[in-house]
Symmetry: C2
Subunit: 492 residues, 2 copies
């Protein structure tokens, strides 16, 4: 066309930071989400699907995670309104809980799964669209609601294929931490800066170790590069309280609770937090969720600005090899806790809420890393085309195979070069090829090729035992489906 | 808070033209899509999930539908790039087919399902986000690929619950129409305006009838409001050719093909189109897809600017009552056809492609209209809370019920007012409530209330036969699960 010259061709590229998912990457995730949805449903949670688009006003402009206050959303103006893509599934829930508050049951248990969008700088392993899979209970103040979410999370992990013993759900309580800060003399309004430093220091325990955290609690710390981070300036005694909290985990939940109770003695909020932890542990163990699955662990401090009571995190405890070849625990795949301010933004009324978010991509990666997803060769049986005039016969063959539940297809490219058809079958990971030309139609037979066995024979051609094994069979036309079924069953 | 006064509260509203979906609306759609995906998969199609966001450059700015050239997309600028939400699933497929052309199998059969976004003026029943569910074959020039899509569409409809006889798939060919225009003397480059008027007129047959279309083919037509639409200015003889085409459908496919062959005699493209129609019908009938399911119908003229060969449309033939109380055929739920130019935009190379798009919301509405979705009361069993001190026991009860696969939950609101708990159970459409207080725990029993039967008894309280029927049972604690199961089974 004349216009081809004037207009340059568009580039066929995935936008930066986004991804395309093919085949098993799509279906395996869908299968995992369906299993999780079934557990959520069994627990009485109802599905909710809000639109991807919200008004910026309803969404709030920024993510709640205090560590990244500038993380943005994708937003644009429509007439007078600013619209944006949701950045999580909790903000839309808050909007729905406020908007439909007279119609929804209370408490409202809902689950949601779907993509969310973050306007972050793209980077390795950092995507601008990814799946979340949440369950929340809105309107239940009782810690029984938190305990239920923890139990449900354990059930979800086992349902998708994480074995008991390969995960642990760690539970803590934000109020205990507040109590510790109070005991350490850090509860006044004028201590905001110190509290911030202490919280960030605790969060770095994994990376810096106790000595590093202690430095940050005191005068400060010089890192490997020589940069100096100013500390909170706590006294030795104050720092001891905080370190004591971080190291409060004991062998049993009861012992941990007792140790925490000592640490927060004298702080009403701290005492209340310890009582809640104790109650959750009691509720869970009565239902059979003992410390082999759910433990009290004071080192869990997540999303500190967001949560107001119990917080929890699911960690996979088996080891995998990281990108630098080191063995390490797989780590966190889900987390959540109690939050009370989200609906208040809309209505002015405080509504207690608690929930969990499962990291869909992380959990899927874990299942793949441990071979829990046996991605069976789901390639189709290929009916090759030897003679285009017989197309109706070939299509009738696949119709029969499909009716028997066997995934199959006719080769629909140019059939002239038979080698291309076999290459295509190879690319599709086809387990079986069917071949029928003029001779076969005249005799009322088909040739059936076991492609998996054929590949093995080719690989082992020099070995005596493989030499004479046939991988192609001639069967009468009416035995085709049965023979294909037998070959597939034999392939496992 | 002090800041509450300064900052007005955000409005909790769904953005204009968008929707929230609750409970069964989400799960029923998911179940329907899973069934369709299974059929697509059985036909050898592979899943593809592209991101919601594309570059405007890759997407093209406008929808292909000629009837709405100004229909827009949601777009915004990111640094140097313009990004936009996809408006269908075909444009991203074209991008993927070009981008990965060296890695994908050829032909490439892919299916995709997910939301798409249209920046349209919102209106009744017109939404700015909705689901599409497509299957396409890229790289197959043979009409066997079109026939396969038609057969697959029939299988999909039956798989989700549309009975044979309640649907028909109509097949036509764009080339036949081109041939008819050629025979009518409308094939020259200078006849572009006339062709446009003729095509739009044919598309209005349903609404205007033959007389109305004839007026538009001739001088023009004054509608009920008095507005005049200029016609194509065809002669009587020219108009007869076009009308003959629209009325070419005969009782059998062979007769229709013969009639079309008469009409396009002398037009090479028309003759080729008729031959393709004949071949498709032959391929389908050989596989058992006869005229009870798939028919040749020249009145199908869809997306005219877009398609280059076979076009098809699935129509549900049963009657429903429309919003004005009139009986009418349910109408179209899916359509598609062959298109060749989409990948060419990127690579300059023409790649033959054919595909189908199922209207997810329309098909779901059809299943609901005909009672094909029996939305079983999926409400949970409610374990009420008579005594908060027994929370661990209540949670143990639901844990047992869930382990038996029974959807259930503990009431987690404030338990003080028992009436509220029963109101909640009602709102959740609970089939069964469990009640246990101090007396029951002391005796080792629970009360089990059949809420469905209870409601029936309440409704029929004056009738003798209902009077003495019990709807509440006391059973020993260890019989709880068995009794609940028996009640649920009895409720069907």
């Amino acid at each position: 066309m004349a216009s081809d010259k004037k207009q340059p061709r568009p580039k066929a590229v995935t936008p930066k930071g986004f991804q395309d998912y093919f085949g098993a990457d799509v279906t395996e995730r869908a299968a995992m989400l369906a299993k999780i949805a079934a557990v959520y449903h069994r627990y009485g949670f109802d599905a909710l699907e809000t639109s991807a688009v919200e008004t910026v006003e309803a969404l709030g402009k920024f993510l709640p995670d205090v560590d990244r206050p500038n993380e943005g959303v994708f937003a644009w103006q429509e007439d007078a309104d600013w619209l944006a893509l949701r950045y999580d599934l909790t903000a839309p829930l808050a909007r729905v809980a406020a908007q439909y508050r007279n119609d929804l049951p209370s408490p409202y248990r809902r689950y949601a799964m779907g993509p969310v969008w973050r306007n972050e700088k793209p980077g390795p392993g950092r995507f601008r669209q990814f799946y979340q899979c949440d369950a929340d209970t809105v309107g239940a103040a009782s810690v029984a609601a938190d305990a239920e979410i923890c139990a449900m999370l354990a059930d979800c992990l086992e349902e998708v294929g994480i074995a008991r013993g390969d995960y642990v759900i760690r539970v803590n309580n934000r109020k205990v931490l507040n109590g510790v800060l109070e005991v350490a003399g850090l509860s006044g309004d004028d201590k905001d800066a110190e509290r911030g430093i202490v919280l960030r220091a605790i969060d770095k325990l994994d990376r810096l170790g106790v000595a590093g955290v202690r430095a940050l609690l005191g005068e400060g710390r010089k890192d490997e590069s020589g940069d100096f981070t100013k500390g909170a300036g706590l006294s030795q005694a104050q720092a001891d309280v905080v370190i004591g909290f971080m190291e409060a985990k004991r062998d049993t939940g009861a012992a941990t609770v007792a140790r925490l109770a000592e640490l927060v003695a004298g702080s009403p909020i701290g005492v209340a937090g310890v009582a809640e932890l104790d109650e959750i542990a009691g509720l869970l163990s009565a239902q059979g969720y003992g410390p082999d699955r759910i433990v009290i662990d004071p080192s869990v401090v997540r999303g500190l600005g967001y949560y107001t009571g119990p917080v929890f995190e699911a960690e996979l405890t088996f080891e995998v090899t990281d990108e630098k070849g080191r063995l390490r625990n797989f780590g966190s795949v889900a987390g959540g806790g109690r939050y009370d301010d989200l609906v208040k933004r809309f209505t002015g009324q405080e509504v207690p809420a608690t929930g969990v978010s499962i990291g869909v991509d992380r959990l899927l990666a874990a299942l793949r890393a441990t071979g829990r997803i046996t991605s069976a060769s789901a390639g189709p049986v290929i009916v090759t085309v030897m003679d285009r005039a017989h197309m109706a016969d070939y299509q009738t063959m696949v119709a029969e195979l499909r009716k028997a539940g066997i995934r199959s297809e006719v080769y629909l490219g140019n059939p002239k070069n038979f080698g291309n058809q076999l290459k295509y079958a190879d690319k599709r990971a086809s387990p079986v090829a069917i071949i029928a030309g003029g001779d076969e139609f005249a005799k009322g037979v088909v040739q059936i090729k076991d492609l998996i066995l054929g590949a093995q024979i080719a690989k082992n051609a020099t070995l005596e035992e493989w030499k004479d094994r046939p991988s192609q069979y001639e069967v009468s036309r009416d035995q085709m489906v049965a023979k294909v079924r037998a070959i597939l069953d034999g392939q496992g």
